[in-house]
Amino acid sequence: MKPRYYIVLIAVLVALFATPLLLSPSAEYGGADSAAETAISDTGYEPWFSPIWEPPSGEIETLLFSLQAAIGALIIGYFIGYERGKRAKT
């Protein structure tokens, strides 16, 4: 792919996830997983097992999610840089 296709694809990505925020700015944007959780709890179901450990606050949860993304992004970035550097040398 030529670089300009990358630019188009990345623009589509940004548009894809900016559109909902622009169209319905006042929506809750809660997680679909917890929406399903609520739908089930509404039937009167009680979960029989709770997580053995929960992040003590929303901030800690965000920290751990960021860490997950950062670990992944680090490996991807290392791989791409390594391969490009190797090719540039030869």
Binding site: L16, G31, A32, D33, S50, W53, F65, G72
Partner: protein, 231 residues
Amino acid sequence: MHIMEGFLPHPWWEIWFIIAIPFISYGIYRMSKVTKKIPEALPLLALMGAFVFVLSALKLPSVTGSTSHPTGTGLAAVVVGPGITSVLSLIVLIFQALLLAHGGLTTLGANVFSMGIVGPIAAYAIWVTCKKMRISSSVSVFLAAALGDLLTYIVTSIQLALVFPTSTGFFDAFLRFGSIFAITQIPLAIGEGILAVILFDFLAKYKGQLLATMKVIKLPHSTNTEEATTP
């Protein structure tokens, strides 16, 4: 697609574990076989694991006014095969169950089944079919990743509808969970498809030989004339 901890009663959570175990065992077998036969493939396994890690951490907004996350397993299935992808998914799901209280240990079997088994197998099947029809690699990867992602969420809806049917039955419950999961997922699946195309394009450019050794793509001098494989 994470079914929360404790939300699958007996006997369902055991059933999904029993179904998932053979696939995971096969995945571990494939992993040791591939890394022994093609040691150069090991960085690719790490790369695909990392891709799943990043994508499943991104909670993205959707047109339904709620958020969800992509899976990254479609591209992994194309590059390292669905078996190994099952193992990569298991690792991510354990990380999220233990550290994020996202998903759960009792629902691990069910979540591995949707994200790590059905999604990847579907993505791989779509990829193989598209290649047979001589569809370009980019379009094939896009369809495999996007539809694999979407199917994962459809499976989650089915899993929940089986356990929690409404008074009018399974199908009504399936539509209800489907509207929570699958509709939200449509723009995310498209996004995942695009990201998968970008990374696959890089791999085809820089690791074409390795991908050919792993029988993911054929290099131009054989029968296939694929623009993406030119260095």
